[in-house]
C-alpha cells in the first residue's frame, strides 16, 4: 500500500511535467504553423526596416529593436531597485513585518496593465515630456520606466524568497566572524541566492518582453528605429505593442497575420536563447546547504 501511493505520486509528477512540456510544444507548434506563411513567402525580407501590409512589406527590425531597448531599460531600473528592496524586506526588516511589507509590494503586481497604461499616459508621459522638453512624452524611455515598475514586484518577491530560504546559520556564523551586514550580503547571501536571482530576473525579463497593454499605450507606436539610434526619448514600437494594435484587425490566414505571429514566435525564441545561455547558473538542482 505504501508502495502504491509512491507510484501514484510518481505518475502524478511525471504527468504534470509532461502536461507542462506539452503546453509549450503545443503553443510552439501553433506559432510555427501560423507563421509559416510569412517565413516562406516573405522570408529574409522580414529582416527589413519597413512595415507596410498594404504593399506587402513586413520588416520587423524596428519592433525588435524597440522590444530589446524597452526591456533593457526596464531591467536596468528594476533589477537594482528590486534587489535592494528585497534585501530590505528579508535582511533588515524585523521578520514580523516582513510578510506585511512584502504583501504590500506584491500588490503592485495586481495593478492591471491597462491601468498602468492609463496612468502612464496621464502622468509618466507628461513628466517625460516636460522634463526633457519633448514634443510628446510617448517614448521608448517612458515605456521602459513603466515596464520597470510592472516587473518590480516579481523581482522583489522572488528575490526576497531566495534570501529568506538561506538558513540563518550562515548569517550568524558570518556575524560571529565580525562581518558587517553588507559584507554578509555580498559575500554569503548573494552568491548563495544567485541561481534563484537569475531565475527571478529571467522571469521578469519574460514578463517585460511579453507585456502588451501598458507598453502599447505609452510607446507612441511608430514602426521606426529612432535616429540617432540611442535617442530613446523618441517614440518607437515593440513587438507586443504592434501585436496589440494590429492583430485583431488582420484577417486570419493572411500573410499579414502570419507575419504578426512570426514576431510572437521571435519573442519566444529570444527567451529560449536567453534561457539556454543562462542555463549554467540555473542548474540549482544541486542543493547548497547541508
Amino acid at each position: 500500500m505504501l508502495g502504491s501511493t509512491s507510484k501514484i505520486g510518481k505518475y502524478y509528477v511525471y504527468g504534470s511535467t509532461l502536461i507542462s512540456a506539452f503546453i509549450v510544444f503545443l503553443i510552439f507548434t501553433i506559432l510555427i504553423i501560423s507563421s509559416w506563411d510569412a517565413i516562406t513567402t516573405v522570408g529574409l525580407d522580414l529582416l527589413k526596416f519597413q512595415w507596410n501590409p498594404a504593399t506587402g512589406e513586413f520588416g520587423i527590425i524596428p519592433m525588435l529593436f524597440g522590444t530589446l531597448v524597452v526591456t533593457f531599460i526596464a531591467l536596468l531600473i528594476a533589477v537594482p531597485l528590486g534587489i535592494y528592496t528585497a534585501i530590505f524586506t528579508s535582511e533588515i526588516l524585523p521578520s514580523k513585518y516582513r510578510f506585511i511589507v512584502k504583501s504590500l509590494l506584491e500588490l503592485l503586481a495586481g495593478i492591471p496593465s491597462i491601468i498602468f497604461g492609463l496612468i502612464g499616459i496621464a502622468f509618466f508621459s507628461i513628466w517625460v515630456q516636460n522634463i526633457f522638453d519633448l514634443q510628446s512624452g510617448r517614448t521608448i524611455f517612458t515605456a521602459g520606466i513603466l515596464l520597470s515598475i510592472m516587473i518590480l514586484p516579481t523581482i522583489i518577491t522572488l528575490t526576497d524568497d531566495a534570501f529568506h530560504n538561506i538558513p540563518d546559520k550562515y548569517r550568524e556564523t558570518a556575524k560571529g566572524l565580525g562581518l558587517y551586514k553588507f559584507e554578509i550580503i555580498k559575500e554569503i547571501l548573494l552568491p548563495i541566492a544567485k541561481p534563484d536571482l537569475k531565475g527571478a530576473i529571467l522571469l521578469a525579463f519574460g514578463r517585460a518582453l511579453g507585456e502588451t497593454m501598458a507598453v502599447m499605450l505609452v510607446i507612441g507606436s511608430i514602426d521606426r528605429i529612432p535616429s540617432p539610434i540611442y535617442n530613446w526619448l523618441s517614440p518607437g514600437q515593440t513587438i507586443t505593442s504592434k501585436l496589440g494594435r494590429e492583430i485583431a484587425e488582420t484577417s486570419f490566414g493572411s500573410v499579414h497575420f502570419s507575419a504578426m505571429i512570426f514576431m510572437g514566435l521571435l519573442l519566444f525564441i529570444i527567451v529560449l536563447i536567453l534561457t539556454i545561455l543562462s542555463q549554467n547558473s540555473l542548474k540549482s538542482n544541486r542543493r547548497l546547504y547541508e
Binding site: 524585523p94 521578520s95 514580523k96 538558513p167 546559520k169 550562515y170 550568524e172 556564523t173 558570518a174 556575524k175 560571529g176 566572524l177 565580525g178 562581518l179 558587517y180 551586514k181 559584507e183 559575500e187 554569503i188 552568491p191 548563495i192 547548497l288 546547504y289 547541508e290
Partner: protein, 269 residues
C-alpha cells in the same frame, strides 16, 4: 557571593586581577520563557573559562549574548549588562561588527560557507585586513595546522568545504575563528563531533592560546573541562549555580546540585 568565590582563586593563581568580560545581573527571556536568570560572572583575561551544565540549561544562550549574536533572535528580551574591557556592549552606538571581530565565536553546529576550504578559513580575516596572496596561504596553513586539519586537506585547499566530514567541518570553523585573532574566543562545544585525537589537539591548542587570548569554552564533557579549564562555571536551569577555580570546584564542589552533576561523571573514572 559568586565574586567572592572567584577573586581569592584568581590571586592564588597569580594572574593580574584583570577581568576582560563582566556580566552583571544578566537576564534573558525568549517569548516569556525565562532562559537566564540573574547571571553575575567575571571572565578573567588569558585564562580558559569552561561553562558546563546539563543540556538545555542556557549555556549557548549565555555565550551567544556575549558577542550579541542573540540580538536578532525573535522574541528575545534581555536585562542587565555585559561589559567588555570595561565598556558595556549593549549600548546603542556599539559597532557590533567590530565587537564581534574582537570576540570571536565558534558555533555549536558547524556551519561552513559554500566556498572552498581556503576561502572558508580566510573568510573573516580578509575583511579585516588586506592580505597578499602569500599571506593568505600562510594564514590558511597556520590556522589549519592549529586545528590539525592541515595534513588532511593540504592537497585540496581549493575543494568545496561542504565535502568535508562533520568533524573536519567543525575543525575548519575553529580555524576560521582563530584566523581573525580576536581577544576573546567563545567556543560552543567545539569538539562535540571530534575524535579523541583531534579533540586533544584542539585542547592543547587552547592551552597554548590562552597566553594571548581569553577563552570561554562551553562543554558537556567534564573530562575535558578538567583537562583544560582554569575556571569553571556551572549553569543549571538558567541559573548560575557555582563558579570558581576549576581545580577547586572539581575536587570539592560546594553546591549540592554541582555535586550531583559531577558525581555521575566521576564515578566513571
Amino acid at each position: 557571593m559568586a565574586e567572592k568565590a572567584l577573586k581569592p582563586n584568581l590571586s592564588v593563581v597569580g594572574k593580574t586581577q584583570n577581568e576582560i568580560i563582566e556580566i552583571k545581573k544578566f537576564q534573558v527571556w525568549i517569548n516569556e520563557n525565562h532562559i537566564l536568570d540573574n547571571i553575575e560572572l567575571k571572565i578573567p583575561k588569558n585564562e580558559i573559562t569552561c561553562i558546563i551544565g546539563p543540556s538545555g540549561s542556557g549555556k549557548s544562550t549565555l555565550i551567544r549574548s556575549i558577542n550579541r549574536i542573540n540580538d536578532e533572535v525573535s522574541g528575545i528580551n534581555t536585562q542587565g549588562e555585559i561589559c567588555f574591557n570595561g565598556l558595556s556592549i549593549n549600548e546603542k552606538d556599539v559597532d557590533v561588527a567590530q565587537l564581534r571581530s574582537k570576540i570571536g565565536m565558534v558555533f555549536q553546529k558547524p556551519c561552513i560557507f559554500p566556498k572552498s576550504i581556503k576561502e572558508n578559513v580566510l573568510f573573516g580575516i580578509q575583511h579585516l585586513k588586506k592580505l597578499s596572496k602569500l599571506e593568505k596561504l600562510q594564514i590558511a596553513e597556520e590556522n589549519l595546522k592549529a586545528v590539525s586539519l592541515w595534513k588532511e586537506v593540504a592537497h585540496r585547499l581549493n575543494d568545496k568545504a561542504i565535502s568535508l566530514s562533520i568533524g573536519q567541518q567543525q575543525r575548519l570553523c575553529i580555524a576560521r575563528t582563530l584566523a581573525i585573532k580576536p581577544e576573546v574566543i567563545l567556543l560552543d562545544e567545539p569538539t562535540s563531533s571530534l575524535d579523541p585525537v583531534s579533540t586533544r589537539a584542539i585542547e592543547d591548542m587552547m592551552v597554548k592560546l590562552k597566553e594571548e587570548y581569553t577563552i570561554i569554552f562551553v562543554t558537556h564533557n567534564i573530562q575535558q573541562a578538567k583537562r583544560i579549564a582554569d575556571n569553571l562555571v556551572f549553569i543549571c536551569d538558567g541559573k548560575l549555580i557555582e563558579q570558581g577555580s576549576a581545580a577547586k570546584i572539581l575536587s570539592c564542589p560546594t553546591d549540592p546540585q554541582t555535586k550531583a552533576y559531577l558525581r555521575d561523571e566521576y564515578c566513571d573514572c
